[in-house]
């Protein structure tokens, strides 16, 4: 029955060939309707870190994980739609680094372009790695390919598929695929949540079984030691909700690119707002399965025992519960041959639980063959969409902001198109390299958060000042960015989450402060980076000469005519939609507080 998920990929392939005529490789001709872009907007972000990472965190931390959506995404998406999109779209910049060049200067753009290019390669590498590991763990190709090669074959296969459709159709093809993937993911996980909830007796059943810290998202947020994330609310709201999420959603070209492909400025502004609505409900699709996975085995000891045997990680997740909210640390990293079959133990002799398997195991547990194929397809689709998003962002930034800016300034358009295709290949090859490099974190999301907090966190301060303070200068922005990233590095080097070994987890300079969890460390790293950037940018801007105001029209808030909205009725205006989204958000937070 698994035959047909290959079938779905086959359809995908046929589609791509359809769209080869599109020569607007990088921006999809700016002709995509808002709702399509909106779905692509979240789908591009819905990579490995979402589905696997959120499921894992759901099983590990509980419903608190929804903060990554409700605090850590939706407000930022509203902000980017209502306030920032006019500058991105209206300035006719083709990429985020290009906006930086128009607003500031060449060197600011260079820093952003290079760091961004490296980051996308890593993210797509992580996606690829996670997917290959998953395929290997679940034994999907068991019997077709020798076991020893499954990991490598999966990496190559996913690379070739993504390469195929981006190479042929560019951003259009990536966006169309992301929309397909979005619906597949919903179709695949919807019934999983439904049947899972039925099994454990609904939300009430989960609440009865799990400790209160796991079923209430704001419980114990006053202090780091009383909630399962190990973060107090200041760190959560400032670190995740403000710095990290605004840094990601407002400046990351990966997502902004989707909105820039929209067919008009109004559409572009509506894109993140439309995306915010499904985003709000995604916790129910990806976090809830994690929670259910933890609940299930503690609930149904006797019935369907054979099925339970097929779900070792569910049992594992259950046993992890009595340890309380603390995370298992000092893990033996999943290095080399990750599935030798031997259980891993931490330094205290406790088995190390692979939370990343929460969702896949749920699929195997509840789905009979047939719909199981759909579920697994959905899972793979999510990996593909995350990878494709990174690759399209990479090829655009590489071609426009690195190749065109520094290597070949006077190529023809055809030449740049060719370069874009080459960059697609190059990006994927580099991602494969990254996939093999990424293995030392147990929880994929922690690794990504680390990368984001080092690169993205200071960025938002630059954009905020650049867009809303006309006095900001190029030198200021540049030195602020460098100082911010430097601060992030130093902070990361000086602190260490409790129980971790110095090294990749931090503390490689010397340990002067310990955080209760690496989540808390990430959030505070971001806060430091942001503040340092803000201060340095303001200071340097004040001592350097500002740019002529006439040059900044369309790039800075106070110098740009407000978008004309008279022809839109009140319910069509982005601000109205934004407010509606925020009201829904508050309601959700109150329900699950």
């Amino acid at each position: 029955m698994l035959v047909y998920f290959a079938f779905v990929l086959g359809i995908g392939f046929a589609l791509k060939r359809y769209m080869r005529t599109s020569n607007d490789f990088f921006l999809a001709g700016r002709s995509i309707p808002a709702w399509v872009c909106g779905l692509a907007f979240i789908s591009a972000n819905l990579g490995a870190q979402e589905v696997i990472g959120m499921g894992a965190s759901g099983a590990k931390y509980g419903i608190v994980t929804s903060h990554f959506y409700w605090i850590g995404a939706v407000p930022a998406m509203v902000f980017v739609g209502v306030f920032m999109m006019p500058f991105y779209y209206g300035s006719r910049a083709r990429s985020v680094p290009e906006y930086l060049r128009m607003r500031f200067d060449e060197k600011t753009r260079a820093v952003n372009a290079f760091s961004f290019a490296i980051m996308t390669v890593f993210s797509s590498g992580i996606s690829m790695y996670a997917m290959a590991l998953l395929i290997q763990t679940l034994g999907l190709f068991h019997g077709i390919i020798p076991d020893a090669y499954i990991f490598h074959v999966s990496v190559l296969l996913s690379a070739v598929i993504v390469l195929g459709y981006i190479f042929l159709g560019g951003l259009t093809s990536a966006i169309y695929n992301e929309v397909l993937q979005f619906f597949l993911i919903v179709a695949g996980f919807g019934p999983l949540v439904w049947i899972g909830l039925r099994n454990v007796g609904g939300w009430e059943g989960i609440k009865r079984t799990l400790p209160v810290t796991m079923t209430r998202s704001w419980h114990g947020m006053e202090h780091a030691s009383t909630n399962s994330l190990g973060v107090e609310w200041v760190g959560l709201v400032m670190g995740l909700g403000f710095v990290l999420s605004f840094g990601y959603w407002c400046t990351d070209f990966l997502v902004v690119q989707r909105a820039m492909a929209a067919d008009s400025e109004e559409s572009a502004r509506r894109v993140p707002l439309i995306a915010a609505i499904p985003k709000m409900f995604f916790p129910f699709l990806v976090i809830l399965p994690g929670l259910i996975a933890v609940t299930v085995t503690s609930h149904m000891a006797a019935p369907s025992a054979p099925a339970a045997e097929r779900a070792p990680a569910v049992n594992a997740a259950h046993q992890a519960l009595p340890e309380g909210p603390g995370r298992p640390h000092g893990l033996i990293p999943v290095k080399t041959d990750p599935r030798s079959g031997k259980p891993e133990f931490d330094s205290d002799g406790n088995p190390v639980y692979n939370y990343d398997l929460a969702i896949p195991v749920m699929l195997l547990h509840f789905f009979p063959s047939g719909i199981l194929g759909l579920g697994l397809t959905a899972l793979l689709a999510s990996f593909m969409s995350g990878m494709a998003g990174n690759v399209t962002a990479f090829n655009t930034v590489w071609t426009y902001d690195i190749y065109q800016a520094y290597i070949n300034k006077r190529g023809t358009d055809q030449h740049y198109l060719w370069m874009g295709r080459m960059a697609t290949i190059g990006g994927i090859v580099l991602s494969i390299g990254a996939a093999y490099a990424v293995t030392s974190f147990n929880n994929i999301m922690d690794a990504l958060q680390l990368v984001f907090s080092l690169v993205n966190a200071p960025l938002f301060a630059t954009f905020l000042l650049g867009m809303f303070w006309k006095r900001t200068t190029g030198h200021g922005a540049f030195s602020g960015l460098i100082a911010g990233t430097g601060a992030a590095l130093v902070h990361h080097g000086l602190t260490l989450p409790v129980g971790a070994l110095p090294g990749l987890h931090g503390g490689w300079i010397t340990v002067i402060h310990g955080y209760p969890s690496d989540m808390a460390q990430n959030f505070w790293t971001a806060i430091f980076a942001f503040s340092v950037n803000l201060i340095v940018t303001v200071l340097v801007s004040l001592v350097t000469r500002p740019r002529n105001e006439a040059e900044l029209v369309g790039l800075v808030y106070s110098l740009t005519p407000k978008p004309v909205e008279e022809h839109l009725s009140w319910w069509q205006k982005p601000a109205t939609l934004g407010i509606a989204v925020l009201v829904m958000l508050v309601a959700l937070n109150l329900i699950f507080r």
Partner: protein, 83 residues
């Protein structure tokens, strides 16, 4: 880019949903549904997917300009919405 995303989207759902429903129809009362607590997920969800696919396909095809390949698409008219 005359391809409306809803057409392929509808097709995928029609295909997979159809396959699942048929499979579900033939495996009624089979032991495989013990896993999903006796619910025939293939049939039920498959039919829902078919319905969704049909709606998407229908709307994708119904667009007026699909019947009129001669006149320019909104984005092909002049400089269009770019500014």
């Amino acid at each position: 880019m005359g391809l409306d995303i809803r057409v392929p989207l509808g097709l995928i759902f029609l295909f997979t949903g159809g396959m699942m429903s048929v499979y579900g129809l033939f495996t009624r009362n089979s032991a495989i549904y013990e896993k999903s607590m006796g619910v025939n997920l293939n049939l039920g969800w498959g039919l829902m997917m078919v319905a969704f696919g049909a709606v998407m396909f229908f709307f994708g095809r119904r667009q007026k300009w699909q019947d009129d390949p001669v006149s320019p698409r909104p984005w092909e008219r002049g400089d269009g919405p770019r500014r």
